[in-house]
Each structure stands twice: as structure tokens, then as C-alpha cells.
């Protein structure tokens, strides 16, 4: 009996270690304030919300989501940094508890969208707040790329009523 419990415990521990720590690609140098795991989560979320292709062809990661989150983390106060890191942990491992699915980065692109959509529309307020927080960061990152801003026609213009010739483009 004890042997069985030990085997079950060992398997669970291995599974937990594997699920929590392993299987992440090496960290990229452009976002040194993010761990390899955090980078993977940011990329997965950004590409779930903004996949490549369509009328705005850039994907979330191509639009510089990693760089953006790195810069946000680097200049945030300690408390906000901690909250952002907790957010990434929840986004990655929340699906275990909430959706009974694999961690976010192990899901297929379709599953990631389904997971995040279920949070966006959840009756549980906390999940909607998590989703909105993630959406805010990823949307800010996506629209920080000038190609996206130009694509939607919102290029900054200090004199929009003075005609195109006089317009000062940023």
C-alpha cells in the first residue's frame, strides 16, 4: 500500500515539475526581464488574440508583444511587477483548474482561443478581470506597432484639418 502511494506521489511530483517548469523554449534576448516561461505565455496569448493573417496581417508576437511587456515590467513599481507576474502564472496554469485542460502554452491555437474566450464570457468576475488585464496588455502591445496603427488609419497627425500637405506625420 505504501509502495503504491509512493509511486502515485512520485508520478504526481514528476507531472507537476514537468507541467510547471519544463518544456519552455529558451528565453529570447529582447525581453530580459521576462523568464523563458513568461515569454512563452506572452507569445501564446498575443498570438491567440492576434493570429497572423487577415486584414491586419501582423500577429501579436510579430508586433512586438515581448518587447512591450519587457518595457512595462522594467519600469513598473514592485507591486505592479508582482501582479503582472502573477497574471502570467495564472494565464499559464489557470486552465488546469478552470478548464481542466493542459497549461496554455501546451494547448493548440484553437484551444487557447477557446480557453481565453471562456474566461472573457465567464460568469465568474475574477476570470473576466484576468482576461481584461491580459487583453489590455496584449492590445496595448499590438497597437504600439506603427504598421498596425497605419493599417487602421489612425496615424497621429497634429493638424488634421489643415490638409494632407501641411499635415505633420509622426
Amino acid at each position: 500500500m505504501i509502495e503504491v502511494a509512493m509511486v502515485v506521489g512520485l508520478v504526481a511530483t514528476v507531472g507537476l515539475v514537468r507541467g510547471w517548469f519544463l518544456g519552455y523554449p529558451a528565453a529570447r534576448p529582447e525581453a530580459p526581464s521576462l523568464s523563458a516561461k513568461e515569454q512563452a505565455v506572452v507569445m501564446a496569448a498575443a498570438d491567440a488574440m492576434f493570429p497572423r493573417g487577415g486584414a491586419l496581417p501582423l500577429s501579436g508576437s510579430e508586433a512586438g508583444a515581448l518587447r512591450y511587456v519587457h518595457e512595462s515590467l522594467s519600469t513598473s513599481p514592485t507591486r505592479i511587477r508582482l501582479l503582472l507576474r502573477l497574471l502570467f502564472v495564472f494565464v499559464e496554469h489557470g486552465p488546469w483548474v478552470v478548464n481542466f485542460r493542459a497549461r496554455l502554452t501546451r494547448q493548440s491555437p484553437e484551444q487557447r482561443v477557446a480557453t481565453l474566450r471562456s474566461w472573457a464570457e465567464s460568469p465568474v468576475y475574477f476570470l473576466r478581470v484576468v482576461f481584461t488585464s491580459l487583453r489590455t496588455i496584449v492590445s496595448l502591445a499590438y497597437l504600439s506597432d506603427n504598421r498596425v496603427v497605419d493599417g487602421i488609419g489612425a496615424t497621429p497627425n497634429t493638424a488634421p484639418f489643415e490638409g494632407h500637405k501641411k499635415a505633420v506625420l509622426a
Binding site: P51, G54, S76, A141, L143, V148, G153, P160, F161
Partner: protein, 513 residues
């Protein structure tokens, strides 16, 4: 009256690079903490009265060359906690406060609405402040408006987004008007939130602060006040730290001695300084109020190009007695897009629809809601609590319905109400009914709370308030408050002008005493 225009408004402002990490010491007659709408007005009035004034600001001066059009950059560089500050309670309520010379006036939409007389009379009666009744602030309002050059938004720079609101209100017979603003030569670039690159906005860093410097005031930026130095019931100075701009790294220390101190550090920081010093009594940090705000996005069959035109050029005060103010809204697309429904192509489709969109917003007086501000430990980080009362949720819902009706009347083919439990896109066939029928709670929307006030309220009764009607803190001999923390209740309109009028009144009292 000819407007005072300053070619180099930040000339003479002392910056972080001037301190070189040395411990900084100085002394003055009056130390004003905070350079936003309240503090800068007080500094100018006091300096022009011949007093030796120091004006202190935690943030740096930000000129057109420092401004960024990208929302995230602006949030990180100009807003406290990177724009991610949140009040917690029966929901999470984002609340943004600026950290820059000029405070909130640098990034707000330059809206200058006078508080209606009947509201001031209500404050006077309910909070035992008879000195504020019967038009007592009229002269102060006139002086501030004249100095800032407040005028109604010009039709030529309204742009289609604002004109749609005007048209919708006309069709429904709802009185509406061009928003009065403190701008000169506005070109309708819709960049108020990220700072006016045209230099058209008369934010206090380009108006009152240089006027204070011209009158002899010394202005120190990048200094964070952390502690009031007291001797008995007197405040004899302020201590704190030098803060590196944009990285917010703490550097050397500073101490400034003063015969009198004016706190204008904002509704969040002022009560923290009071609480750290044990001043202000039990009400310091209590009674936090705000204007919860929500928006609907109308989608039109033609190009609106909402990024063209005054940021908030039209408004309606028709429902003010109910506690509802309706406005046109604009903010960087990245911030507005957060609320779009869907993923992938659907979400990108909404982004592409931006050019046909016009957002309108409602703010409510939220008289039944409230909260508190306390320091997190010994820090200057606030722990902000706020509960949105169901009666105020109902008010917000009514406001959203009014805005949706205005959108239909203006010709919208669809409206995004941004409310959980209501279809994400309302069509004309659906009308406003789904929004009207919904049974809503505070957690059903992301409510922004950007006008905050009341955390060190004034009142005639020292047992229920922090300061008297002149902003003097009851339990200190020489400490005054000059920001929105002194509001005893909602002004029902955007608070900047009321804050400035009260600050002028308080400063003139100090100068005369």
C-alpha cells in the same frame, strides 16, 4: 484680457539632472506640494503676493519633444504605476493619476466646467460651509477662466465624432453644447491624452507654473514628498526623495523648511501625507469619491475618422440634476480597443471599423458610492478601496441607454455597449432594449474612475471633516489643502476648474493672513 503666453514655459524649472544625487536642502515662506491644477494656481497667487514660494513636483517637466503618441509609452512615462492603478472593492476600478509637471492638466481633455451654483449651495448646507454659498466662488472662476483663456470648442475643429453627438442630441431634443476648454489655437489633433504636441492646451505646466516662476517662485521637479516634518501642531517642512524621471528610481534625499505648507499632491497622495504625519484626524483618507465613467461605441455607415477633432468637444449637462453628464470621448485607439469583443479576425475587424466609430461616455456623480485611501505600510503607495453602490450602477445604466439612443439618433448602425450579459453588438433592430432590460451589477462592466476627490474633505464641523472652507487643516496651525481631496461631495462636472477656483481662494487667504 490678453493671455499670458510663455515661449519657453519650463525655463527655470529645476530638474533631476540638476541635483546630481546630492542631498538637497532649501527653505521658503510657503511650500506647495504638487504642481497640478490646485498647486500651480496656489503657487502663482502666493508668489505674486510677494511670498517666497517653492513649488514641488514628483514628476518631470514634459515638453512636446518628450511626448509619445503610443498609449503604452505614455502610460509608463506620465501615469502613476504605469497607468495600472486600480481601486478595489465590489469590483476593480481603474483610476489614472498623472506624474508630471502640471499633473492631470497635462493629460486631461482640457474640460473647464464651472460647478453649478445649486451644487455649491448644497455643499454649503450639507457640510456647514456657508462661505461657499451664493456665488462665493464666482470671482475666482472668472479669474481662472480669464487666465487660462477658457472658450467653447470651435466648430471648425470639432470633427465628425463630436458633430455626431451634437446631431444625435438635436434629433432627440437633448440640450448639448460645445465643451468649454482651456486651449489656445487647438488644431483638433485629438492627442490630449498623450500630451498636446501643438502646445495648444493651457495645462498648468505651460500657464500657471511659468507665471509662478516669473513672480519669483522656485520650482523643483522629480522630488517626492514623503514626510511632513512637524513641531507640535505646526508643520515646519517636508522631507522626501529625488526620483529619476521615467525609471522612477529613488535617488538622493531632500528637505525643505517652510513657514507654511500647502498640500496639493492629489486626492491619493495628500491623505497619505496627512496620515503619515498623524494629521487630519480620523477622516483623512476617508470619504473617497469619484465619477465612475463608461462608454458606448457607435458604428456608423460612413467614415468618422474619430482621431480627428477635439478630444472631447461636445457635452450635455441636461441630466446633471440626476447626477449624469454625457460627453464625447476619445483616447488612444489602443486603450479603446481593449473592450472590443472577439478574437483573431473578429477582433481585427473591429480594429478596421475604428474609422467608422464614435465613442460617447457618461460620468455619474455616484453620490451613494465611496471608499478610502490608506498608505501601504510607510510608503507613498496608496491602498485604494471603492464600492460602487447599486443605485449608482443604475445611474450608469441609464447613462449608457441615453448614449445609445443618441447614437441611434445620430445614425449609428450598431452600438457596442461593453457590458457583460448584454449582446456585445446592438443592432438598430435590437435597439436599446437589451441594455434597458439588463439587471446589472458593478462587476458587469469595467468602470473607469478618473475624477477622484473627497479623501480629505472640508467641512464646518471638525469632527466630520479634515479642513475648513479655506482649506486649512483643522488640527494643524499652518497646513492647507489645495486639491480635489477637499471636495466634500461630487461637483457633478469635471473637477479641474472647481479645484483651481478653490485653490485661488485658499491662496489669497494665506497671502492675506
Amino acid at each position: 484680457m490678453k493671455l499670458q503666453v510663455f515661449e519657453r514655459p519650463h525655463e527655470g524649472v529645476r530638474r533631476f539632472s540638476d541635483y546630481q544625487d546630492r542631498a538637497l536642502r532649501d527653505r521658503c515662506d510657503v511650500l506647495v506640494v504638487g504642481s497640478g491644477p490646485g498647486g500651480s494656481v496656489a503657487a502663482r497667487e502666493l508668489a505674486e503676493a510677494g511670498l517666497d514660494v517653492i513649488l514641488l513636483e514628483e514628476g518631470p517637466p514634459i515638453g512636446p519633444q518628450d511626448m509619445r503618441q503610443e498609449a503604452g509609452d505614455t502610460l509608463r512615462r506620465v501615469f502613476r504605476e504605469g497607468g495600472m492603478r486600480v481601486a478595489r472593492g465590489n469590483g476593480f476600478f481603474p483610476t489614472m493619476q498623472a506624474i508630471a509637471l502640471g499633473g492631470g492638466s497635462l493629460v486631461n481633455s482640457a474640460i473647464c466646467c464651472r460647478i453649478p451654483g445649486w451644487i455649491l449651495d448644497g455643499w454649503a448646507e450639507e457640510h456647514h460651509l456657508p462661505e461657499l454659498a451664493d456665488g462665493a466662488l464666482d470671482a475666482d472662476f472668472e479669474a481662472v477662466e480669464a487666465f487660462l483663456g477658457v472658450t467653447a470648442t470651435d466648430e471648425a475643429i470639432q470633427g465628425e465624432r463630436n458633430l455626431l453627438f451634437k446631431r444625435g442630441c438635436e434629433v432627440l431634443g437633448i440640450p448639448a453644447e460645445p465643451t468649454p476648454r482651456n486651449v489656445q489655437g487647438c488644431k483638433g489633433s485629438a492627442e490630449c491624452f498623450t500630451g498636446c504636441r501643438n502646445g495648444a492646451k493651457r495645462s498648468t505646466d505651460t500657464s500657471y507654473v511659468p507665471a509662478a516662476i516669473r513672480a519669483g517662485a522656485r520650482v523643483y521637479t522629480s522630488l517626492r514628498a514623503e514626510q511632513l516634518v512637524t513641531e507640535g501642531r505646526r508643520v515646519v517642512g517636508v522631507r522626501g526623495r529625488q526620483i529619476e524621471p521615467f525609471t522612477w528610481r529613488e535617488a538622493g534625499t531632500f528637505q525643505i523648511e517652510a513657514r507654511r505648507v500647502v498640500l496639493a499632491a492629489g486626492c491619493m497622495a495628500t491623505p497619505l501625507l496627512l496620515q503619515h504625519a498623524g494629521l487630519g484626524g480620523a477622516h483623512a483618507g476617508q470619504h473617497l469619491k469619484g465619477h465612475p465613467g463608461l462608454a458606448v461605441y457607435g458604428l456608423y455607415p460612413h467614415k468618422v475618422e474619430p482621431w480627428k477633432g477635439a478630444t472631447q468637444g461636445y457635452q450635455s449637462l441636461a441630466f446633471l440634476r440626476e447626477g449624469i453628464k454625457l460627453e464625447v470621448l476619445w483616447a488612444p485607439p489602443a486603450l479603446l480597443a481593449v473592450r472590443f469583443p472577439g478574437f483573431g479576425d473578429e477582433f481585427k475587424g473591429h480594429l478596421l471599423d475604428f474609422e467608422r466609430m464614435a465613442p460617447f461616455d457618461v460620468i455619474v456623480s455616484a453620490r451613494h458610492s465611496g471608499g478610502s485611501v490608506k498608505p501601504l505600510g510607510r510608503t507613498m503607495q496608496p491602498d485604494i478601496r471603492f464600492d460602487l453602490d447599486p443605485r449608482d450602477v443604475a445611474m450608469l445604466q441609464r447613462g449608457l441607454c441615453l448614449l445609445t439612443d443618441i447614437s441611434w439618433a445620430a445614425g449609428a448602425e450598431a452600438v457596442q455597449p461593453g457590458v457583460h450579459g448584454v449582446p456585445p453588438v446592438l443592432t438598430r433592430a435590437m435597439g436599446t432594449a437589451p441594455l434597458q432590460r439588463a439587471s446589472l451589477r458593478a462587476t458587469d462592466f469595467t468602470v473607469g474612475m478618473n475624477h477622484v476627490f473627497g479623501s480629505a474633505r472640508m467641512g464646518g464641523n471638525y469632527r466630520t471633516s479634515v479642513a475648513d472652507s479655506w482649506g486649512k487643516v483643522h488640527d494643524a496651525e499652518n497646513l492647507y489643502l489645495c486639491d480635489t481631496s477637499v471636495f466634500p461631495a461630487s461637483p457633478h462636472v469635471n473637477p479641474m476648474l472647481t479645484c483651481m477656483a478653490l485653490a485661488r481662494r485658499t491662496a489669497r487667504r494665506i497671502a492675506a493672513s
